[in-house]
Symmetry: C2
Subunit: 229 residues, 2 copies
């Protein structure tokens, strides 16, 4: 077993599962941390192995996968540096890993004894509560990110639809008419009418388009092109 | 105070903060739940109010917002039916709401006493652990969703870039040459070279394009168009 050095420990404390632990709690955990290197292709655990630890990836990439009855490999998740994995197994109290883990790009990880981490949590409701606060914050920031990505995606579709209606590519500005009702265009682009209207409103607020009924004026075609790049 | 009926209670138990509570724990919480209706425009709490409760939205839409020194309203989050809000404030142990909450579309919500919920958690480490498991699962499924959305977004850009290179719109199939190096195209589309290559590989695996060096054959232009719709 190799204990993590101070630099690695500092790295670990950036993760939400460790960020708010006291020095005393970290000292209690330290004997239950193990640093190991792995190579590309190396098996870290097999599906069905006893889930005694969870992991923090420090360097490299790890794939979590299952193998179908037909022998086909299905990748469930790629773990990147800074990410943890198998901690849900720990919280679930499941005794066995539900997937296989293998190095995809060689690197280094820290394994953390699940029972040692749970002992620290059980001894301090304040710590449980703080970890739950961090988790809740992450869930909310992910919600925001998913919403932003969906909007960005939709915006890209709508901007490129409008650009496709511009008569020539060379014109600095352009005037065009929507060829059909907004609801039909929205459906064609695979977005809801509400989102379609919302994006058109945002584009007008940012003055990259101006609208009057079905008439669209694009004051600067290049600017609109850059807008959703 | 209006207590939630059984139907509303069943609804509540679909949320991860309540899903795994025992009947005894729910019975303990019940006197600390309050159902209330609200109208569009109605203030539910102001920034700085004592954060004694968190909320589960049953119907309607709520906006969480801040007001700048200049009087400008900034929407922080829109809450939809089925979502909770202000629970991070509870876990953080912050005594005051960091935002204003106002009805955007009238509806109904359940307020839950933060101290009552925390008492239930504090009394049972098993419940804490299960809530943490649920939270971890959500964080991971959000990761997956973010990755899928990012890929979808990128795929859309790349497919539409390729479609833009098709000589005429009417042709059933098409042959084209990438006009410049892949790295340059990737950068133009705002994606990393790795993602660009990954998407081209996926498109080839699904046989909507075939590639040989910089030569791209599109066996069915309409199918490629549908592919990323």
């Amino acid at each position: 077993m190799t204990r993590p050095d101070d630099r690695l420990l500092a790295q670990l404390r950036k993760h939400y599962l460790f960020a708010d632990l006291s020095d005393a709690q970290m000292a209690e955990l330290r004997p239950h941390l193990d640093v190991r290197a792995f190579d590309a292709g190396e098996t870290l655990f097999d599906q069905g192995d006893e889930a005694a630890s969870f992991f923090m990836l420090h360097r490299g990439t790890i794939k979590l996968f299952r193998v179908s009855a037909g022998g086909q490999e299905k990748i469930m998740r790629l773990i990147q540096a800074g990410q943890s994995f198998a901690e849900s197994v720990m919280f679930m109290g499941e005794p066995r890993y539900p997937v296989n883990a293998q190095g995809l790009k060689g690197g280094q990880l820290v394994s953390i004894s699940a029972s040692a981490y749970l002992r620290v949590m059980q001894a301090s409701f304040a710590s449980c509560r703080t970890v739950m606060a961090r988790m809740t914050e992450r869930i909310q920031s992910h919600w925001d990110e998913i919403e932003a990505l969906t909007l960005q995606n939709t915006q890209y579709r709508i901007v490129h639809y409008l650009l496709g209606l511009v008569p020539t590519n060379e014109a600095a500005s352009a005037d065009l008419s929507l060829p059909t009702r907004k609801g039909v265009i929205a459906s064609h682009l695979g977005v809801t009418p509400e989102t379609f209207s919302r994006v058109l409103r945002l584009l007008q607020e940012d003055d990259v388009i101006r609208m009057q009924g079905a008439q669209v004026h694009i004051p600067n075609v290049a600017a609109l092109r850059r807008y959703s790049a």
